[in-house]
Structures are given as structure tokens and as C-alpha cells.
Symmetry: C2
Subunit: 418 residues, 2 copies
Amino acid sequence: MTAPLHEAHPAGSGRALPDTQQGMRRRNLARVMHTVSAEGPLSRAAVASRIGLTRAAVSTLVDELIRSGLLEELGPERPGRVGRPGSALAVSGRGPAGIGAEIGVDHLAVCAVDLRGEIRARAVRHCVNRGRSPEPVLAELTALVRQVVAEADAEGLWPAGLAVAVPGLVARDGRTVVRAPNLDWHDTDLGTLLPAELPPTVDNEANFGGLAELWLGDTTPRDFLHVSAEIGIGAAVVVDGGLLRGTRGFAGELGHVPVRPDGPECACGGRGCLEQYAGEEAVLRAAGLEPGADRVGLLATRAADGDEAVRGALHDAGTALGIALTGAVNLLDPQLVVLGGALSGLAPWLLPALEAELARRTAGPACPVSVSRLGPEGPLLGAAHSVVRAVLDDPAAVAERAGEIVAGRAGDIAAEQA
Amino acid sequence: MTAPLHEAHPAGSGRALPDTQQGMRRRNLARVMHTVSAEGPLSRAAVASRIGLTRAAVSTLVDELIRSGLLEELGPERPGRVGRPGSALAVSGRGPAGIGAEIGVDHLAVCAVDLRGEIRARAVRHCVNRGRSPEPVLAELTALVRQVVAEADAEGLWPAGLAVAVPGLVARDGRTVVRAPNLDWHDTDLGTLLPAELPPTVDNEANFGGLAELWLGDTTPRDFLHVSAEIGIGAAVVVDGGLLRGTRGFAGELGHVPVRPDGPECACGGRGCLEQYAGEEAVLRAAGLEPGADRVGLLATRAADGDEAVRGALHDAGTALGIALTGAVNLLDPQLVVLGGALSGLAPWLLPALEAELARRTAGPACPVSVSRLGPEGPLLGAAHSVVRAVLDDPAAVAERAGEIVAGRAGDIAAEQA
DNA sequence: CTATTTCGTCATGGCGGTTTACAAATTAGT
DNA sequence: ACTAATTTGTAAACCGCCATGACGAAATAG
């Protein structure tokens, strides 16, 4: 008890899951999956030493996971070390897959990721969704999902879940889009509009982008702020390796943090919100450009060409971002701020002013700022991976369903039994 | 796996504690303690149904806790219900106690709280600590602690830990005061200066205030922002019933959130920080009052008397708070904002402007703002209770020590055995 | 070619919660 | 009053899960 005083209390005073042997088993199955997934092919002995169980215990856990098709035995390792070589275990490349989808203002995208994290199928369709009503968009998305699922099936994968990234605020129920200004959707339950055969989850694209950064980024601290901008400006707040969602699920609305309290009016009712300075519309206006297609790319090329108006606009946007982020950093004390989404492409011209502002307003050493390697791919990957993580987090739950699925393929079963 | 997708992952990919049967036992002991603590006297059967274990299992858990002196059997209940009445269990009023301490600018305070949450001993000393070096202050505090421990001992309590609330930034090690502007302390390891016989923990007073609100406040949401101001302005960020501490432990530095980016310079290097508008010094200056003793009380009485200068100053401070909180609310989406510490006394004159600002800048319904019932008592109570919570969180750890302690009292043991 | 090291597995055991059964203590109904 | 029904707490048998210790297997070191 000396060390972690007053943390999020583990037991919980209210109603919580009973801590029984079955739960223990499930958690240990999850620990094996996570360890193998994170640290590549590993022998049973190596897993055992990593998670603190005995080899014997790990053996039984691994047996169960192999029987469920979640783990694979690659065969004996060949290390130059003394002693009998272990048998390498790897996460299965067949079996459950995570289906990620993204609804953008001007495109739909779907991909399938296997447990190893590899993208095994994908489909993109460009279409103008702005202002279109949800039904046709979701119908189109559903068709794309079915197509990707079919592709994945051909490779021996079955969908373990569907996660959809949306450019807007999503309620904590993981289904309802409360407000998506760029699509002009309000209080829409996407759950009913998505393929019924898959358990769907909907979340903000900034959140999925942040999760992608957490799981796939090159530097992966467990506490950071992932800022992403498409038309609005959102942020994913990652605390201790988990997403901070807020009571209603609206956490991370960086775009409406006041930057200059008497600044221009904002659609949210406030004045001088960050979005008025660093939002896409505002930057385009300041740069003297018309709205249109691929405006971010245009900004980047103009800035690279030395267009002073564009550079000035991006400088000012960086300053505003720096001011807003100073507040966020003071409040959250993150290890890192990551610029993702459209911002990553404009980072070279945003960063100087942003970092200067942050440094100027910070007493000690300023919070480091980095640029996401994932760029605009983040949300889609994060969505797909969130399903994969859910499988790793509770392999036992999936194993049951895997059993049904595999049972369906009588031939395979018969072959295995022979 | 349907429900909680991508939460803070339970298993952890890295090295984590092995999930063994002993751990299970410890967690279940904790669950019993929490349940009894939270829901008053309860029979074994009632506890069993609450935590989802069987009556038999709970019986053995309770036996162990009673043997350790953490739980007490009050005797048969007398409900008008059919069936054999249960035997009421309650948290013990003897045994381990939490010692809380507070280092203020002009006072020291210590109290002892038993497992039931009752204050059983306390001591306060008024003294000017501003600018005094840590050694004599801590020596004086140690004397107070010893006095309170002696008082508690006379009531059959032994100290399970010491938690110290400090007006400043504390590192995540829970010992080092990194910066306490109002005391003029820097990078001071209080651990070495506190009584060695007790495991000490040091934390920010805003954090302890927030925890007090979480555990003792009348409305107790699990996600809220607790704002407290003494001379600086700090906030405790409570997320899902736990404190958000940040990488370095500096989270919640609301005082240096930029409110007007071109405002007056601040000691932090920035400009227009909240502290420049709502900090004690700034408010006093705006109200035309000199710094002195109990300035907050003076502000309150003047405001109550209708002093326009004071009212105007508080109004402006409320506006600034509203602007800064708009940012925080957008970022965190808390269920509630609580004004604590010195702010609670000035709330009547701060709230109107604060709430107006918050409402104006929020699109939907604004985040509700409430005033802490605990007021300036918060940090001290939070500190003491944090020790109590640590005991509830891992009763097994304490039970061992309790054994030693009780073993020291040969007389009691002999009496019990007879 | 033997000694050593490491891996995976098996048999045994301890520990923890569950199941089942039962006695105790109370209320409801006749 | 007296019986039936209900609920509580405990004890005994049981099952599941991991630890322990021993063993054969498969590599390296000398």
C-alpha cells in the first residue's frame, strides 16, 4: 500500500464484476495474448517469465489459445543460446479480424486488420457526404464493409467487430452521433444503420486517431494529447494508456477552447475559439484561398512554394494552437503533444509558432510536440485496431464465437481431427 | 467484449502483476471492506449479493477481516423481514487510522481519521510559514503529528500512514515539493523531514481537496473538476473516480491557463494567465485592498456589505474563471465543476459571472457548477481519508502490520484468547 | 561424448470460491 | 401455539487454477 496511494480504486465501492477464478483465467489469457502480440514470436517460457506465471500455467493457457485459433505455433526457434530451443508462438494470422471504417466529408473507407496488426483488405470510395442524409451514406458504407468482409473471408478471417470513425461528437453509448457539423448530422443512431451481423462501435475520429497513435505510433507514451484537425479541431486525451472520454463522450473538444475571449463569434456561441484561428475555414480565409477540394494539400504546396499569405496564415494558426495547447498542457501535464490528421501535413509551418508560444508560456521545460507518422490514416487504423485490442483484451469471449464459426466449417474440423 | 471497447487496457502489454490466487483473495478482501464501508452495517449475505460472491466465500473473507481487526461484528440485525436475521458487520472504529496533515501559508493542521471516516483527533497551529525554510516547519509539523498520534493511540487507533497536503507542485514520487511559490520552497524532499516511523505521502492540496470532494462531498460524481484557490489557483481533475496526475504530477495547473493571451505578464513567463485575474493578489489589487491576514474573509465581508470595488473585482475574477473553465470543460467534459477552498466562501459573488461566461461559450447545456460543502477543510480531510482508502484498497497489507501492532499489546491478546 | 542449460510437460498439491446440505432464527399463516 | 416458509451462517465435498518439483527432450560448451 505504500506506493500507489489514492489511485482509481481497484475494488470499487459499487457493483463490480466478481473476482472469481474464471475471471483470473480470462485475464491471464489476455495477458498471454498481449505479450505475444506486443513482443513478437515468443516461446512459452519467455511468456511465462514476462507475465510472472509458471511455464506450466502458461502451457495450459497457450493450449487453449491455440485450440481457439488465436495463437499459432511457428515451430522451434533457432537461437544461438544454450539449452533446448523454445517453440515460437505468434498471434494467428487467420481467425478474427477487426473491421475499421471511416466516414469522411468526402470519402468512405473500410479496412480489415488481423490480430497481427496487418491490413488484409481495404476499400475506399470517394463521394461527397457533406449534407447528405445518414441513410444512403450508411448503406454505401455497409456495402463497402460487406465487400471487405468478403475479401477477408477469402483469407481465412472472420470479422470480430466493426468500429466506425466519424467526424463529430459521439455519445458514450458508442452508437449515436450527437453532432457532426461537417456532415450536418444530428442525434443519429448509427447502430441501427450498420450491418446487424457485426457488433458495431462508433467513435469520434480524433479519438480513433489518438488510439492509433497510442498503439502504432513510433514513440508511444501512455499520456499524451493527440490533436487532429479536419474541418473542426479535435483532440484525443490519452491518460495512462486509455482514452479520456468525458461524461457525455465529448472530451477533447479543443476547437472550442477560448483563445482570445473577445475574438470573432463562433458557431458554438462563444467568441475567439481556437477554431476561429486554426480551423480549416479560418486558415483558408486568412490565406486568401477559396474553399474547395483537397484544400489542405493546396495549403501545403502553397506554403512550400513560399506563399507569404499562406505562411502567415499558418503561422497565426500555430500561435493560436500554441495558446490553446498551453491551457491543455497546464491542465493535463501530458508527456507529449502529437499533431495528427491534416495537421501533420502542415506541421512544418505550424510548429515553429506553436512551439514558441508553448515555450514562452511555460515555466519549466515545455511539453514536447511531435508529428504523427500516421497522418490521415490514423482514424481508420485506430478503428480497426480497436476491435483487435478488444479481442486481445478478452480472448475467451472471442474463443466462444470462434468455436461456432469454425464449427460451421465442417471440412476443416474433420481435417483437423484426422 | 461488446461493451467496453478500447478502455484502459486491463491486461497491459508490458510487465504487470501476475494474476494469481493470492491477488484474487486480496482484491476480494478489498471488495468486502469497500462494500461495508460504503453501505453501512451489512450482513454477510448482503455483502455476498452485492459483490457477487457466495455467502460461504464472504464468510471466510469476513472472518479474516475480523481477525485482523478491520471489521467488527455488531450483533444480530432486527429487520421486520422474514427469515433468520443477519449479523451486522461494520468497519472497525479501532485499529488503523489515517493521519492527514496540511501545510498552509499561515497554519499547520493535523488530524486522525478512523476507518469509519470519523475524525478522532486533531490539532491546529497558526504560524507564518511563508518564506520559512522547510526544516523548522516540518519539525513543528512532526511534533503536531506525534501529538495527534498519541491522542489517537489513547482511543485504540494506530497510524496506518501519513498524508501531507502542500500548497504547491508535488512530483509523482509523492515526496518532493517541486515548487511552492507561497512558501518559497523548491525541490524539497519532505520524505526525509517527516516522521520516519510512518510511511508518508505528499500531494498538492488541490488534489487532496478534490479527493475529499469525491469521497465526502454531498453530490459525488466520478468525473469532475475541483477548483480550489488559495493564493495560486489549482484544480483536481477527477476522472472515473480517480485523480488525473499527469506525467510529472503537475496536472490541474489551472492558474496558468491563458485567459487573455496578451494580458499582463505572469511569473510563469506567460501572459494573461488566469492567476493574473482571479488569483488572490490580483483580486485584492483590483478591489483596492492591501495584502494581509485573512484577506479572503475580508473580501467576503466587504462584498456582503456591498462594496462595489470588491464586487467588481470578484465579478471580473468570475469572468476570468469562466473563460478558463470553458477551455477545461471543452477538454474534459466533466459532469460537474466544484468550487472549493477559498473560492467556496466567495462563491456568491463569483458564480454569476462565472456561470454566465460558461453558458455563453457552450453550445449545448452548460456544465453545472457547484460549491463545495467542505470549504477549506477539504485538503486536510482528503489527506487523512487517502490513507483510509489505501487501507480499504488493500486490507491484507495492513492486516500484517496490524498483527505486529496487536502482538505488541500482549495484554489485549491474552484477554482475547481467554 | 559428456556435462550443462533450457524448454515443455506431467503429476501432485495448495488455495480459493462454489455447490450442496443443514441447523438456527425469524415471520406468516392456521 | 404450532407448523410452514424464509433467510442466514457454516461445514463438507468438489472443482478449477496456478505452483511445485521432477522428468525427458533438445540444444550448447568443453
